[in-house]
Structure formats: structure tokens, C-alpha cells
Amino acid sequence: MDSVRFDRTGAGTRVPLALKILIAGGFGAGKTTLVSALSEVRPLQTEEILTGAGADTDDISGVEGKSTTTVAMDFGRITINEDLQLYLFGTPGQDRFWFLWDELAFGALGAVVLADTRRLSDCFPSIDYFEQRGIPFVVGVNCFDGARQYDLATVRRALDLDPEVPVLLCDARDRQSGKLVLIGLVEHVARQRGEPVPVA
């Protein structure tokens, strides 16, 4: 097979394939920083509106009094080649936005859970979320300045991770470092599928 999918229009215009990767973790763990470091464009923001209108209604007349809240999601793009793009979505931090995660996670290739060793428990909800849904993830331990350095085995034990889940040290500000975390994720996804990517 010659590369990936293109010309899905059949009319000569090549439509790239986009793969979604989620960047999760607790508040302040460095999600936006990592998206910014990796994105080839200034990170973009998209908003979702939470309204009082439920899924059963088609319009919001009658609920004008309900306040609307917008949730911002940061995202960035990495072009692999003209047919293949990665989109990185930072997940909204607050627990009450879990339902937005379902949309973000739908069809996602996998996730990076950023952990801050000073507040390790902040990433438990993200780990639970991906474990329960069988979405492959890696843990990136963001090495903040001044944070006590833990060894990875200690972090793994503290997070009670399955042995196959990779745990990687990273610096969310550094593109090369973030890149290695993404490579770690894609290799993990390939192993999960039983077809490991050979080490180049």
C-alpha cells in the first residue's frame, strides 16, 4: 500500500486524515504548555457552549433565563505529511466537563496524561477515565523546576498503573521532549494493537 488515505472525495481533492490525541491531566499540569510546544501553529482555541437545553430539545426558546457557559479547549496541529495530521486537544480541567471528554475522546488515537509530582493525585481522574474506556494512554511526568525528582518506578507505583502503560519524564515546555512523549504514545498504541512499530 502506498502510504495512507487520500482522495476521499474521488474528485481530485485530497482530504487529509486527522488523528486526535488528547492531552489530559490535572489543573496546572502543563496541558496548554505542551500543546503550545508541539503545535506548528499558534495554539487555537475552540469553545463549547453548555446550555440549559437538554439533548431532547431542538431549540432553546423557553430557557432564555438559563445561563450559558462556555468551555474553552486548546488545540494544536502537527502535520506529519500532506495526507496525515495530528490534532492535539487539551482537555478541560474541571470535573464538571466530563461529558465534553466523551466527544473529545471519541475516535481518539490515545492520550497523554500529564502528571505533576507535587500533586500526583490530580491526574487520577484522567487515568481512571482512559482506563475505563480502554483508550490507550501514556503518563508524562512533567519535570517542573524545583519539583522534587521522583524516579519513574515510584510514580508508577503511586499511580497504580498497569505494567504495560509507559511512564515518561518530560518537560512540557520543550518541543523535543514533548515529541518523545507522543512517539511513546504511538508506539504504545501499536503494541496494544499487536503490531509494534519497529524501532528506527
Binding site: M1, S3, V4, R5, R8, T9, A11, T13, R14, V15, P16, L17, A18, L19, K20, L44, Q45, T46, E47, E48, I49, T51, A53, A55, T57, D58, D59, I60, S61, T68, T70, F75, R77, I78, I80, N81, L84, L86, Y87, F89, E103, L104, F106, G107, A108, L109, G110, I135, K179, L182, I183, V186, E187, V189, A190, R193, E195, V197, P198, A200
Partner: protein, 128 residues
């Protein structure tokens, strides 16, 4: 005595007041798109018959037609128009119903047909 500094035109508005136009006004109050789908990374492509100058289209529809003469994913359209994703989905649903755009939904991770894609991603990332 010094004259008062000029005040902003809408002195009763500040950043916390939010957008002046309520978000779903642009969609006539509709919060659900006529069509399902429109994943955040679904690519939208205007059809050959779509005309960004069509006077029957609202300005936001025209802008979407204009932007999608090359394939653009939904999330980027929302960022470009500075509109919430939910609003953009409704507007795209209108265009789809008129046959003016094509939607290319992404593959889900489990349906990626072969691992060549993952290999391409890894080698592409290594080359960055």
C-alpha cells in the same frame, strides 16, 4: 480641571459580560444540527456549486463556504470564525442540507485499517 478620559462606547459592557450576541442567535435558536456528526476533526470541503457570494446565505454561512474551498476540520473552522463548536455544527448542517459541502468524518482509532499509518506518524514525529 481635566476632561474625563474617553470611555469605551459601551461602558456597561466588560469582558465578563460575554459576547453581545447570544451564541445561538446566529442559528435562529437551534442548538442541534440538522445532521449528526461533524467530529472536531472531520474535514469539510465546499462543493463545486457552493458560492461564497450567494446572497441567499447568511454571512457566517458564506464565510464557511469561503474557508472550505480547501479541506478544513471543524475545530479549525470554529476557531477561525471565533464561534462555539456547537454553533458551527448547526451552520454546517444547514450547508450540508443544501448540498453545498461534503463532510469527511475521521476514522476512529479502532478502524484505522493498517499500521502503516502509525509507522508514518512515528517516523514523521522523529523527523520533526
Amino acid at each position: 480641571m481635566l476632561a474625563e478620559p474617553p470611555r469605551p462606547h459601551h461602558e456597561w459592557l466588560d469582558d465578563a459580560a460575554g459576547p453581545v450576541v447570544r451564541p445561538y442567535t446566529l442559528t435562529g435558536g437551534r442548538v442541534r444540527s440538522a445532521a449528526d456528526g461533524f467530529d472536531l476533526v472531520a474535514f469539510i470541503l465546499a462543493g463545486p456549486q457552493a458560492n461564497a457570494a450567494d446572497p441567499q446565505l447568511a454571512p457566517e454561512h458564506r464565510r464557511l463556504v469561503e474557508l472550505t474551498h480547501r479541506p478544513v476540520p471543524v475545530a479549525e473552522l470554529a476557531a477561525e470564525l471565533d464561534l462555539a463548536v456547537g454553533v458551527v455544527r448547526v451552520l454546517l448542517g444547514d450547508l450540508l442540507a443544501r448540498g453545498l459541502i461534503a463532510v469527511h468524518e475521521p476514522l476512529t482509532a479502532s478502524s484505522i485499517p493498517d499500521d502503516d499509518i502509525l509507522k508514518a506518524v512515528v517516523s514523521g514525529l522523529r523527523a520533526l
